[in-house]
Subunit: 304 residues, 2 copies
């Protein structure tokens, strides 16, 4: 594939940034990729494993002359990082991000950026429960969705180039507005994560069921929750605080439904339960047909 940007700067070198770097290298998409991380340890690790063509010791150096700067930092510090890079950005550069929440990021980043820079927020729907510079791999985005947040103020050339970049890294790309993004993601990702964290916390608290039993007998159901609940705590704290309204709305609906099922159990209403469980089964079929998962029976046994 041909080169899309001369120079890309990755700010924050965790799972997403490191996977972006390896995906860029796989396909020769960028002339030079610079990288910066706040922690010396992360920068040392990046240098040791060859992550980024050049790891910079200052954020100014990393973004200097970059055609694209991607903020790969927790949502809670996006505004501060945008303020730090703003004076050093090349005129006409594109700034993007990979945050899981979009309205909040737009609200904190946009006021920091100079007028001659194009901000095109993005959210690759890909991840693992691992984090850090050593967790990335080139295939992370293959056949996953990347959502670009655009509106009638968006610079189309900047957006189209960013779109071709994500497609070249393996993603399918769609555009949507920020509020709709935040609601959809609250349903498909944020609230499920909160619920998984909660269930794992309940198990941890329950003294009559010793920890070793919870762990030993985790195969059916709980194991998948622990996988979700092992995700990066800082990232998820920021997601819930910055997508508060949608999360609280979906949580409210969740609690309502859960109480209805709880009442059905208490009253022995088997028909209600059976109908409900039959309806949810159809959604799974849709996901397999949409190619977002396989039909292989791996439940309870991991990726092996």
């Amino acid at each position: 594939m041909s080169q899309i940007y001369d120079r890309v700067a990755l700010i924050g070198l965790g799972l997403i940034a490191s996977s972006m770097y390896w995906a860029c290298k796989r396909d020769g998409l960028v002339g030079e990729v610079t990288g910066y991380a706040k922690s010396t340890e992360t920068r040392d690790t990046a240098r040791r494993i060859g992550l980024c063509d050049r790891v910079c010791d200052t954020i100014e150096e990393a973004v200097k002359d970059a055609d694209l700067v991607v903020l790969c930092v927790p949502v809670g510090v996006m505004g501060d990082v945008a303020a730090q890079i703003a004076p050093h950005l090349k005129a006409g550069a594109t700034v993007s991000d990979v945050g899981s929440v979009k309205r909040f990021v737009i609200d904190v980043v946009t006021p920091q950026l100079p007028a001659e820079v194009h901000f095109v927020p993005a959210h690759p729907l890909a991840g693992t429960e691992h984090s850090g510079p050593e967790s990335g791999f080139a295939e992370l985005f293959d056949n996953r969705w990347c959502l670009l947040v655009t509106d009638d103020q968006t610079d189309r050339t900047a957006a189209d180039t960013l779109k071709s970049f994500w497609i070249a890294m393996g993603s399918n790309v769609e555009e949507m507005d920020a509020d709709h993004h935040d609601l959809v993601l609250s349903v498909t990702s944020h609230t499920p994560h909160l619920i998984a964290y909660t269930m794992v916390g309940v198990a941890d608290d329950l003294r009559r069921v010793s920890e070793s039993e919870v762990i030993k007998y985790s195969a059916s159901g709980f194991r998948d929750f622990t996988r979700i609940a092992a995700s990066d705590p800082t990232m998820w704290r920021d997601v819930f605080l910055s997508n508060k309204d949608a999360t609280l709305e979906i949580l409210g609906r969740f609690t309502e439904e859960l109480f209805a099922l709880q009442r059905a159990i208490r009253q022995g209403d088997g028909a209600h339960l059976h109908d409900y469980f039959t309806r949810t089964r159809a959604i799974r079929r849709g996901i397999i047909e949409a190619g977002q998962d396989t039909d292989a029976p791996d439940f309870g046994r991991g990726a092996s």
Copy 2:
């Protein structure tokens, strides 16, 4: 491996029974395995795919002369099935089951069985979201736990033989009492399933987020819930109705914790969220160390 039983009867030919059959055949554990299913269609399918050495058209024929009869039917019909087979059991035979709830099964099955038959309830902690006679595979139980429910009334010879049978099919075996089993499973399996069903139901109801979007953007978090929520509706209805007390207790604790996290989100208490998410991460590490899952980063990408 050497033969453990001369004749085993599998009653109900779904995922567990079909996997048991293939595991028996893999290792030559049984002289002859007979099978029975209530539905003609299931019996025809079993015959077509070579499931069981002999598929019987009546339950009497299937259990006749069997050394071990395994009830692989939904928990809700265990009592009826036990009553049907009781007059036809060989003296000294062992009856077992594979139900996900144990106190209820013991309460409904035990009174039906003749005194000269040994009942040793069991629960293999293995499964997929698939069901039916074609969903089984010989490796389902490999390195999974199978819990035998025993007490001081248990016939030790019957229990030890059944234990060696499950070990030969690939399982690790532990014994525990029925009530403790039901509480542990409520935490590690039953309540997580109910929660997953609920979350998928919420997504299905939410009209502003179209079904196709929920399906398209399911990669992070929600996808794992849909996998769980695709499990057999009849089986799960019976689990919740027959393990009502433990499920309602764990659900109560879950709701309590969820409300505390919800309040932290509403109040912007990031420290509470971060602490909670850090604590749950450690449990995941324990599960990987216990060998019940792999560390491979498959989250969001399926078994492929």
